[in-house]
């Protein structure tokens, strides 16, 4: 069936008719060019509403053991309407309502990969994928400490990606989580791990190279050392330097962007980091914007979370070491605009987004739920697009944070095109999703349609219509179809299994289980992990290379 979206205000800088009122044609789940003498079977008049590709969140914690534990930890705190970590159906519905059609879980441990995929499979309406966490395993650090050769390292990384059916590789506090298990409480970029002798710089340098050489679409996704520590901007820039010019993605950059000057010994490092990104085309980042209100922070970085436990609000916390791979730390927190540090964090995220010139290399995230829930994205978009609104909000934060912020002098307002890039086209590009994030002919017809409201927050809070693969799944906030087939994106990598002998021995010595236990086969992913939700519609599994 040929469907025409007529009278559409096309918002897609990659589309030849960007900014124009025009028609889009959809057939077999994708956009198609017009054909002479062929009339559409169905025509929808959009009355010049804004039409954008389905949005993509490249960093949102929506699946896996840590997310579930945070539900458990907070179950008695929140009434259902107060939650910030929702059950899977609501997560899918809330994202869809805002026009998002794909989300990526950024912290999947090998041992918990099945759990992650199972939860993602139960999150309807969203294509998904996950990044496997590496860089704190005993076996990997030991190998790096013994200067494992590049080919073997690539094989270890490739095996991890394939075994966990991952989309990309993430490193969290390189070596630092493992160091904490050996009671080494800090690990700066050039400091040697007390057990393995390796430094965070070594870990980042070797893994960026391995990821690059394997041809993974997404560069190494880096949660840098010293998260949340005043003055960490220095180690953040050192971490980026460690990539030696290779592609590298700094995640939730706001949390790694603090100077040690200013009130209370803590200030913004946004200008330094933005300058670095503006002059280093190999670097991209997502922001991890803090939004005021109650949330719960969840991270594999137990070293950082252990340090934060005394700030928990309400006063409860959970720290867990996990399978010689990483950890799991949960601390609830209430970001308050009267609090200096929280206000500073709020300004830094916005400063980064407004000072980095290339919208293709900066991504709008709250590191859900760490900086705030993803449902605050419309508010964040308004802060970026509306200077007067931003200034009015600036007046409400801690006065010292406001006084020192660069935001007072930044006039930039994001355009609709830039919003389309940072939430659609750029995430698709950096994840290698060539047929997503766009309205061009041949692209998957994931569509979000918005009616202009009196402000941008209201406009983006709820799409009037969301389509998944050309099928309308939500209209005016009402879920029409929850069982639409969704895609699990994962990377395709090749490696020589013969190179894994030593690796296999090391892993099995640590975990006391066969290496094969960790492998998720293609059949398992498509038939067992997803099958009972869609018995008659086998989901697509798509390579992300």
């Amino acid at each position: 069936m040929l469907l025409e979206l007529a009278n559409a205000h096309i918002i897609d800088p990659t589309h030849p008719r960007h900014g124009q009122i025009s028609s889009l044609l959809i057939e077999n789940g994708q956009f198609v060019p017009p054909e002479a003498n062929r009339e559409p079977d169905q025509r929808i008049d959009l009355e010049q509403q804004l039409v954008m590709a389905g949005a993509i969140d490249i960093h949102t914690h929506i699946g896996g053991g840590k997310v579930n534990l945070s539900r458990l930890l907070m179950a008695d705190v929140f009434r259902p309407e107060q939650r910030v970590v929702w059950p899977t159906l609501e997560t899918g519905a809330k994202y869809c309502r805002m026009g998002y059609t794909a989300c990526f879980e950024p912290a999947m441990l090998l041992s918990a990969a099945r759990h992650t995929h199972l939860e993602l499979a139960d999150t309807p309406l969203l294509d998904s994928g996950a990044y496997v966490v590496l860089g704190n395993e005993d076996w990997l650090l030991q190998a790096l400490g013994q200067d494992v050769d590049d080919e073997q390292l690539r094989a270890m990384v490739a095996w991890s990606v394939r075994a966990s059916q991952a989309m990309a590789v993430k490193v969290v506090n390189p070596g630092g989580i493992n160091a904490f298990k050996f009671n080494q409480r800090t690990l700066n970029v050039d400091q040697a791990h007390v057990q393995w002798g390796v430094t965070p710089r070594d870990v980042v340098r070797r893994l960026t190279a391995a990821v690059d050489d394997l041809g993974l679409a997404h560069p190494l996704h880096v949660h840098a050392s010293n998260l949340g520590v005043p003055g960490n901007i220095a180690s953040t820039l050192q971490t980026l330097d460690a990539s030696e010019g290779r592609r590298i993605h700094l995640t939730h950059a706001q949390f790694n962007c603090y100077s040690n000057s200013g009130a209370y010994g803590m200030g913004s490092g946004a200008e330094q980091l933005a300058e670095y990104v503006n002059t280093h085309p190999n670097v991209s980042l997502d922001v991890g914007q803090v939004m005021f209100g109650q949330t719960v922070t969840i991270s594999a970085d137990t070293a950082a979370q252990y340090g934060n436990r005394n700030h928990a609000k309400p006063a409860r916390w959970y720290i867990n070491d996990v399978e010689c791979q990483a950890g799991c730390g949960m601390i609830p927190i209430r970001y308050e605009n009267r609090q200096y540090v929280h206000s500073l964090q709020w300004t830094i995220g916005l400063e980064l987004m407004l000072l980095i010139q290339d919208p293709w290399r900066v991504f709008l995230t709250t590191d859900h739920p760490n900086g705030g829930p993803f449902t605050s994205y419309p508010h964040l978009i308004r802060l970026l697009m509306d200077k007067s609104f931003r200034q009015s909000m600036l007046e409400q934060i801690h006065p010292q944070a406001a006084a020192n912020s660069l935001l007072r002098d930044i006039d930039r307002e994001y355009s609709l095109a830039e919003i389309a890039i940072t939430t659609r086209a750029a995430p698709a590009r950096i994840l290698g999703l060539q047929r997503h994030g766009s309205l061009r002919d041949g692209a998957v017809a994931d569509v979000a349609i918005y009616r202009r409201q009196s402000n941008w927050e209201d406009t983006f809070a709820q799409a009037t219509c969301v389509m998944k693969g050309g099928v309308e799944v939500m209209r005016d906030g009402q879920l029409l179809l929850s069982e639409t087939p969704c895609t699990t994106h994962r990377a395709t990598v090749n490696f020589d299994p013969g190179l894994l002998t030593r690796f296999q021995t090391s892993v099995e010595q640590c975990l006391r289980m066969p290496l094969s236990s960790l492998v998720i086969s293609d059949d398992e992913l498509s038939d067992l992990i997803r099958r009972d939700r869609r018995l008659h519609a086998r989901p697509r599994v798509e390579g992300g290379r």
Partner: protein, 495 residues
């Protein structure tokens, strides 16, 4: 009346062989009419470790059936040496036979026809207003399907009565938590203290798999604290034994742990008035020496309010030690089917333990937190009891109108339920003749059990005994659709 034949050693081998064949899809095991307990000696028993991804679900360790990599063979990893598994295998066989031979004599009406089973469950759901799905053990897919049925029929799901886990949950919420997993125990711990009389019988291979290290590696010191002496005769000669075994009367555990914590906090306090004994002092010294200490216990052994204080004290010790070193807690859940169902329910509904679908969202009515078995039975018009994951624990003493369980569980339950008028449906046990995902007892890993790669396609699954997930998925499909969930559009959360 069926009389259980004596189980000779050769019989046990035959049973193992049948199970192994069932794993491989070679046997007639798929239909229980073919089950018989052979006493014929077999000369060449098939190996149990026939393919990868086989894991035992009878305790929190979830041991893999396949051998580890050659160079790690010393760590074990096979099932053969597990007394718990051997016992269960023997019981399973005899109970299956019992079901076969007695099925017409029970009050329940058994059926092995899938369509009739689906119809029976559908009728059960449609025929009652207030239905409680009591999940005593299920894999992820099974729990998903039951949640869908519950949502379509506006019912309630309750996962077991895991009081041990509840105590841990409460302590975590009130005081925080410093936890760890089994891999960390084998990889990083230098001092492990197992606590309780059950832990070594609930997880028999714990010492062999996780508390021993090859020569030349960092040493691991193992202490065991229990109310009774360890009977060395219960262990095979190759099983490692604790370096120190302390016997503390059960009633004194809280007092002793309190003294231990004080000893750690105030070492100078070890004078004539000190509450500590020589044992606590030695243990305190070992803790002080350690770089990464772990306390391990079995959830099922800590269930009352005093036990909650014991757990709190362990957390206090862990917190105190972690100021300068590392110390962590590991509460092992032996009912992996229960843990898995709880986890799945949590992500599907956001509710812990109990979830009611009220037509718009999942909630946990607060009053359920204190319900006893009797309360559940009076609250609901009908109860469906589900256990599809093999376990050595008995089923709860619950009057259920519908029981969906493996043959072994049904045989056991049937003896209590002769007067009951309800349905009993046999399903294939997850991990043996049906594939499924289970959470390991330490929450450290999620594993696929019972799934040879060649048997993943639905079409190849034997049909006589349904896999629980397939049965329930069909039931969900057979129920009329109700309005889809549409969470309140106005909610924006924090921020």
């Amino acid at each position: 009346m069926f009389r259980k034949p004596p189980l000779t050693e050769s019989c046990r081998i035959e049973l193992k062989t049948q199970l192994a064949r069932a794993h491989l899809g070679q046997s007639s095991f798929s239909g229980y009419d073919s089950w018989n307990v052979s006493t014929t000696p077999t000369s060449k028993p098939a190996p149990l470790n026939a393919f990868a991804n086989q894991h035992c679900s009878l305790c929190g360790l979830m041991c893999a059936g396949a051998q580890l990599h050659d160079s790690n063979a010393a760590f074990g990893g096979t099932w053969d040496c597990c007394p718990r598994r051997q016992t269960w295998l023997a019981q399973y066989a005899s109970r299956c036979s019992s079901v076969l031979n007695s099925r017409t004599s029970f009050g329940h009406s058994f059926t092995d026809r899938r369509t009739a089973e689906v119809q029976a469950i559908r009728d059960f759901v449609m025929g009652h207003q207030r239905v409680l799905w009591w999940i005593d053990g299920a894999d992820v897919a099974c729990t998903r399907a039951i949640a869908e049925i519950t949502q379509r029929s506006h019912g309630t799901i309750h996962v077991g009565q895991a009081t041990g886990a509840t105590l841990v949950k409460r302590t975590m919420i009130n005081e925080g938590w410093l936890g760890t997993t089994l891999g960390e125990v084998s990889g990083h711990a230098d001092l492990v203290i197992t606590l309780g009389d059950c832990i070594l019988s609930e997880a028999p291979l714990l010492p062999a798999r996780f508390l021993s290290r090859p020569d030349g590696e960092r040493p691991l010191e193992w202490w065991h604290v229990s109310a009774n002496h360890i009977e060395n005769s219960n262990f095979s000669p190759t099983t490692p034994l604790p370096a120190q075994s302390l016997v503390w009367p059960r009633a004194q555990w809280l007092q002793r742990l309190t003294a231990l914590q004080l000893e750690l906090q105030f070492p100078a306090n070890n004078g004539p008035d000190s509450q500590t004994t020589g044992q606590e002092s030695l243990l305190a010294e070992a803790l002080r020496r350690s770089r990464y200490a772990v306390w391990i216990w079995d959830n099922s052994e800590f269930t009352n309010s005093i036990d909650e204080l014991v757990i709190s004290r362990l957390l206090g010790i862990a917190r105190q030690r972690t100021e300068t070193a590392r110390c962590a807690l590991l509460n092992l859940e032996s009912q992996v089917g229960q843990l898995t169902a709880e986890e799945t329910l949590l992500w599907l509904t956001g509710c812990s333990g109990t979830a009611t679908w009220n037509g718009a969202e999942w909630t946990t009515p607060p009053r359920y937190a204190a319900y006893s078995l009797d309360d559940w039975q009076t609250e609901f018009e009908a109860i469906a009891l589900v256990r599809t994951v093999p376990s050595v624990a008995p089923l709860p003493q619950l009057r259920a109108e519908l029981i969906v369980a493996t043959a072994a569980e049904l045989a056991e339950k049937a003896t209590d339920a002769r007067q009951s008028s309800g349905y009993s449906i046999v399903v294939q046990p997850t991990g043996y003749a049906a594939a499924g995902h289970l959470q390991r007892g330490d929450r450290g890993a999620s594993l696929l059990v019972g799934a040879p790669p060649s048997r993943l396609d639905r079409e190849e699954t034997p049909a006589d005994w349904s896999a629980g997930c397939e049965l329930f998925a069909e039931v969900a499909g057979a129920l009329p659709s109700r309005a889809l969930a549409t969470p309140d559009a106005t909610r924006q959360g924090a921020g």
